[in-house]
Subunit: 121 residues, 2 copies
DNA sequence: TTACACGCTTGGAGCTACTCTAAGTCAAGC
DNA sequence: GCTTGACTTAGAGTAGCTCCAAGCGTGTAA
């Protein structure tokens, strides 16, 4: 599978995939006789995980660390699990932010509805 | 109120407040006789709203547009309400992303738990 | 009165995480 | 043989901060 198909399967753009590879966030990606990248099913699964981690705010530094651990083999499984569990907690923090913002917006929108005598910002 | 107090009240750093002002995302901020910025209660409310919009992913371009409309006066209220309502919908999209990511993480974490014969990435 | 600290000011450099562009290679189809 | 299209690289450009240096004005302490 070439890069554009990989891109449409994992959700990251081709540019981002190349950038992630250069930044050490992918395990070895093979090349065909034409010199182009060939993505395996495992590669796609990895990219898809990165897509979700990025989409929910994990830093590249953390993703790089996660990749390094995965490359190091099964001995690092517990450390990797820790990273994912920590990120899972981050998701709760973010959800709370969304909830609070929704309240803030609701109040602001309501203030726009009532036609007050003074200018409402 | 000077910038550091404003910063601690709205949640944006002093640097970010100055940056936002320079980028046309604040209505006029007054200056004291010493040449330093003086923030009014209205300023703080505006900054706090920007804090929430940023925190939940609104682009600077959109925030700038929102500010421009607010400066233009009450005639733009309905357009501003539209912006906030659109952003409110965005929050739902983001929440769904968090939910899906949580599922992805749960699956991955579970795969780490079962000690499989092959190396699990 | 001089000395130093503190909080503010500006302009500009540096950083993260992409995103886009230019210039080139290679294989397939006409 | 020529064009088209997907790929390659290096490197420039962008968004949104974040930090730093150099300088100014006020306040306390010696």
């Amino acid at each position: 599978m070439q890069i554009s198909e990989a891109s449409s399967k994992c959700g990251l753009s081709s540019d981002t995939i190349r950038y992630y590879e250069k930044s050490g966030m992918l395990p070895e990606v093979g090349r065909g006789g034409d010199g182009n990248r060939r993505f395996s099913q495992e590669n796609i699964e990895w990219l898809t995980l990165l897509y979700w981690l990025r989409e929910t705010g994990m830093s590249m530094a953390q993703m790089r660390r996660f990749t390094r651990l995965a490359k190091a083999g099964p001995a690092t499984v517990s450390e990797r699990r820790r990273i994912l569990m920590d990120h899972s907690e981050q998701l709760h923090v973010r959800r709370k932010m969304l909830d609070r913002c929704e309240t803030v917006l609701a109040v602001k929108i309501a203030s726009y509805r009532e036609r007050s005598p003074e200018d409402r910002n």
